[in-house]
Amino acid sequence: MSDNSRYSFPRLAYGGKVSSSNRIAAIPSSTIHFFEHVSVFGSVEPYLGKLHHLKTQLSENELLGRGGAAFPLSKKIAGYEKHRGKVVVVANGSEGEYLSRKDEALLARHPHLVLDGLSILGSALDAKMGFIHLKSSKEASIRIVQEAIAERRGVDPFRIEVSTTVAGVGYVAGSETAVISAINRQGGLPLYMPERPIVRGVRRRPTLLANVETLAHLALLARFGSHWFSSIGTENDSGTRLITLWLPSGSYRVLEVVAGTEFAEIFQAMGISREQVSCGLLGGYFGQLIDSDKLWTLRASQSFLKSAGFSFGAGVVALAEGCPISETARIINYLAKESAGQCGPCYLGLPELAKTWKSLASDNVTAASISRVDELCDELAGRGGCAMPDGAVLLARTSLRRFRSELLEHQGGRCSYGQGSGRLVPPTGVLAAK
């Protein structure tokens, strides 16, 4: 076993600039090629094909999935154990959440850590075939991954194919069944697959999907052990995680932070003061808009956020400077446009909600329009074929509650923030490929 203490932090941001507190690091953009990868982390071969070893390590500490659902990897593996030998493993790097960039940054830096993770997981389950699923809009990262696969011929115990998804199918493109449907060339939209775990997925085989960040963590965990893994972080949430932090200026940083790091510390390290920020979107489009005072008290830990009633999703924190009511209006409007147009309550109700909410962002807010939002939320909750309307309803409800004082200001014809730049939503045209 290699010298453990060397990589305590940073881990995935190996080689990146570290903050003075030694809890935040930026992912460098250059790619680590195979030779350097092996000399830094050591070869993956001793850790291949060891299901038992892997299970012990995962049982000693929970490695939660980093794709958004935070499902423990150990439980996922357990579901596929009886299908050993038939499993297909898929590294999911398609990042359906528009605001998330961490998977892309990780793949550009550490394709080999992700591939190591895929090999460790796949070989433990006797898989014969692996896939790595990417966004097709990112040609550069597809090339990096293809080169990485070519570099490691002979190391991987199975054939790895790169599959891509057409960018712009929106947030649903990253979901499990949509990825399977894309790999099978069935259109890349969510499919009806009632069984869990999925026993008839890619090529009609049992299919295990794991987020690329999860796999990169796994590659390190398998090498250095669970004791090393949980040597940093909090009790309930060990190790580190990648986050995409959108600055009020509209640019973003992908950071690796030690689990449990205070948001205040992260913002400070990025040079953001509370005065610059009116609110922030936590967890992406299916998350909530939070006022800056609250945001500054939170911590980068899934368990902490969960107990505070939030979710980290895929690790998105997007800061805004505009009026929270206007920011909410833009996000709901975006979601309404994203509707796949299949369910009435979604394609009729969401535009209505967006329209009503937009009137709250103007200066003729009436009590009637506020109660109309309430009414629409009650009417739309749980009425879609997927979680889309629920995402918009959650955002509308929580923003309504949290920013009520601002609404009262609007009622008096004032706004404390101004319109803002609207950078939380994609500029029109980004989704034109749809």
Binding site: C343, G344, P345, G349, R383, G385, A387
Partner: protein
């Protein structure tokens, strides 16, 4: 193209099982086109929203309403009314 039904729609949690409850009704929102026939046949359980799409008041289907529910299931033009017995 056949309309696919979202996965969660078919997961047991969606159907809110309870021990006594034996028959449940659901509407597949992806298939439903808002014809409103179901609400006419089963006003006790289904009302229409402002766009004419059905809102289920309860998933529990009491035996007294089973016949009406079956009619709705049969007559819904998009086969969106689903009755499940456990």
């Amino acid at each position: 193209m056949a309309k696919e039904v979202a996965g969660w729609f078919h997961r047991p949690a969606f159907w809110l099982r309870s021990d006594e409850m034996k028959t449940e009704i659901a509407i597949n929102p992806i298939a439903c086109d808002g014809h409103g026939i179901c609400a006419e046949l089963l006003p006790e359980l289904i009302e229409l929203d402002e766009w004419g799409f059905p809102i289920l008041k309860s998933r529990n289907l009491p035996p007294a309403l089973l016949d009406h529910a079956r009619r709705a299931e049969r007559l819904c033009p998009t086969l969106a009314v689903i009755i499940r017995e456990y």
